[in-house]
Every structure is written in C-alpha cells, then in structure tokens.
C-alpha cells in the first residue's frame, strides 16, 4: 500500500487514479480475462458476501507503490486458456508500461510484476468444436 503520509497528497491521489487506469487498460489487454485485487491480502469480511460488494471501481485493483524514485506496479490477472500465458503476461506488462508512460506517471525506475492466478475460458468464447 502507498505510504500516503509521506507522499504529497497529489501523488497519492494520482496513484489511485493510476491504479484505476491500469485496471481498465489491463481488462482490454489481449488474453487477459479478468483482473484480481493485487493489494496485500486482507481478511475478506462476511459482509462482502451479504452486501454483494463488487471488488472493482472505485478502487483500482492494480497495486501501485511509489517510494523514492522507484515505482512498483503489481497486477494479478486471469488469462485466457486459448492463448499461451507467458505471451499474455508479457503483453500485459507492456500495456502497464505504456499506460504509465502515457499518464506521465513515470519514475526513475519502473518495476512491473504480473501474476496469472487463474487460467480459464472466457464466457464469451465459442464452445470448443466437438
């Protein structure tokens, strides 16, 4: 989690916006079927189920951590079983770097980590031929 006490308020807000932008960009990346919350694990409350809470906007799911001149981005995704996952992960990393650059959110050094937590067939895919 971003240490918001030390960063300037604008940076913290920007990083949250960055996280949301990265989440959106990843959903559109080829081979990415879903995006999971990459923030450090927090015990899920039972109310999550009772209220039907959705883990999405307004919080971004991509973990953005900035300290000193280092920007660390971590994303957890579900990948398409029809596409080689290493390829999907590499493309996802590219999308992340592009988005970071486009938003001018660069730092001296950008470290990107993408983890596939699930490989599945997306809902919209045509059923496999018999």
């Amino acid at each position: 989690m971003t240490d918001e006490m030390l960063d300037a308020p604008e940076t913290a807000e920007t990083d949250q916006a960055l996280s949301r932008a990265l989440t959106r960009a990843l959903r559109g990346a080829p081979g990415v079927v879903d995006v999971f919350d990459a923030h450090p694990v927090v015990e899920a409350a039972v109310t999550l189920v009772a209220e039907g809470l959705e883990l999405a906007e307004p919080t971004g799911l991509v973990d953005v951590d900035r300290s000193g001149g280092l920007l660390s981005v971590a994303a957890h995704v579900a990948t398409d079983v029809a596409v080689p996952t290493p390829q999907t992960l590499a493309r996802a990393a590219d999308v992340i770097r592009q988005t970071v650059a486009e938003l001018g959110a660069d730092a001296d050094e950008v470290v990107v980590s993408v983890t596939a937590r699930l490989v599945e067939a997306p809902l919209e895919a045509a059923p496999p031929a018999e």
Binding site: D34, A44, A50, L118, E120
Partner: protein, 197 residues
C-alpha cells in the same frame, strides 16, 4: 463490468458436468486444491440440508441464508483442515451448527433469544411415496412440537454430530441438563412415532 462465471470444466455443457456425480471426497479434495467449481457443486449439494438444519436450530428461517453463507465461507477457508475428505457432509453440518449457535449467542446478548420462533413452514412441492410421507410428516411435526432447547440438543447431537460436552458448551448449559433434554426429546419423539408403526 467484466465478469466471468465460475469455470466450467472443458467448456462442456452443464448436463455433461462429471463433477455433479463426483463423490464428496473428490469434490472436497479438488476444492481444497483451489477448484471453485467443485466448491459450487458442494454448495448446491449440501446447502439445502444445511439451511433446513439452521432453520430448526434457530427456530425460524429469518437468518438461515446468512448462517449458511457464513458456514460455506468458513468451510472454504478451512478445507485444508479436513483430514478425511469423505466426511465432508458431517463436517459441514458441524460448521453450520456452530454458526447457528453463534447467532443464538448474539440474540441472547440482545435479550431476544427466541423471539423469532415460529412454526416450521412446509414446502409445497409434491411428494413421492404416500406411506413414508405420513411418517416423515409426523416426525417433522413432532420435532416442531419440541420445546426449542430440547430440539436444539436433539438436532445438534443427531444431525450435527456434537458430543454431550460440546452441546453443553455451545448452549451454555450443564452437561447433565443436556442429557436430560435429549432424554426428554427422545421419550417424546418415540411416543409420537409409536402411532405410526
């Protein structure tokens, strides 16, 4: 909002889903290893009985949905603790028993212990065999006639597999009282079912 449903194995139609026929042991092992779809099959298979048990323990159906969902969340997180995956059903009944008791404790703390008690509703679905239906009807009514404490002790022992000591701890009663409650319940139920020999 991009959503995908729980993964269907091999993309096959639900009618061909082999997990529907899988044993509890296989499902529990797969779910323990992270198979969400296997857990879905477990939830659909055992959820109804868990809901009925919760309803009879709580004395109403008001909170049964919450209790069953909590029970499944607990079960998912603790699947690794289940030594013998084949005992899944009994294990689930214990968990829902625990969650129901926790609810009763919350009510007791708020002084509205059995304010929710109401007669057990019957499903309207048609039945299969007439003879057994009469006996089961009689048993269902008999259970309903039991005072709530006797019913709880009886069901925790018979359906949720609690020991006398565990029931005593769960309901905050002396063990001797629990034995007495179960003995009374037994006498009553046997008397009621005499008529249906």
């Amino acid at each position: 909002m991009h959503r995908t449903p729980p993964d269907r194995p091999g993309g096959r139609h639900i009618a061909d889903d082999p997990l529907l026929d899988a044993s509890d042991g296989t499902l529990a092992t797969r779910a323990r290893d992270g198979d969400v779809h296997a857990f879905e099959v477990i939830a659909r298979r055992h959820g109804p009985l868990m809901r009925v048990l919760a309803g009879r323990l709580l004395g109403s159906d008001v909170e049964t949905d919450d209790v069953v969902q909590e029970a499944f969340l607990v079960a998912w997180r603790r699947l690794g603790d289940l030594d013998d995956p084949g005992t899944l059903r009994a294990w689930l009944m214990r968990i829902v028993g625990n969650r129901s008791i926790d609810r009763l404790r919350v009510r007791r703390d708020h002084d509205d212990v059995d304010a929710y008690e109401r007669p057990a509703p019957r499903s309207e679905a048609p039945d299969r065999q007439v003879e057994t239906r009469l006996q089961l009807d009689a048993m269902w009514s008999a259970l309903d006639k039991l005072p709530l404490d006797q019913r709880r002790c009886w069901l925790l022992r018979e359906t949720a597999g609690y020991s006398y000591a565990e029931i005593a701890q769960a309901l905050d009663l002396p063990t001797s009282t629990v034995r007495g409650q179960i003995a009374r319940a037994r006498v009553f139920l046997m008397g009621e079912m005499e008529a249906w020999r």
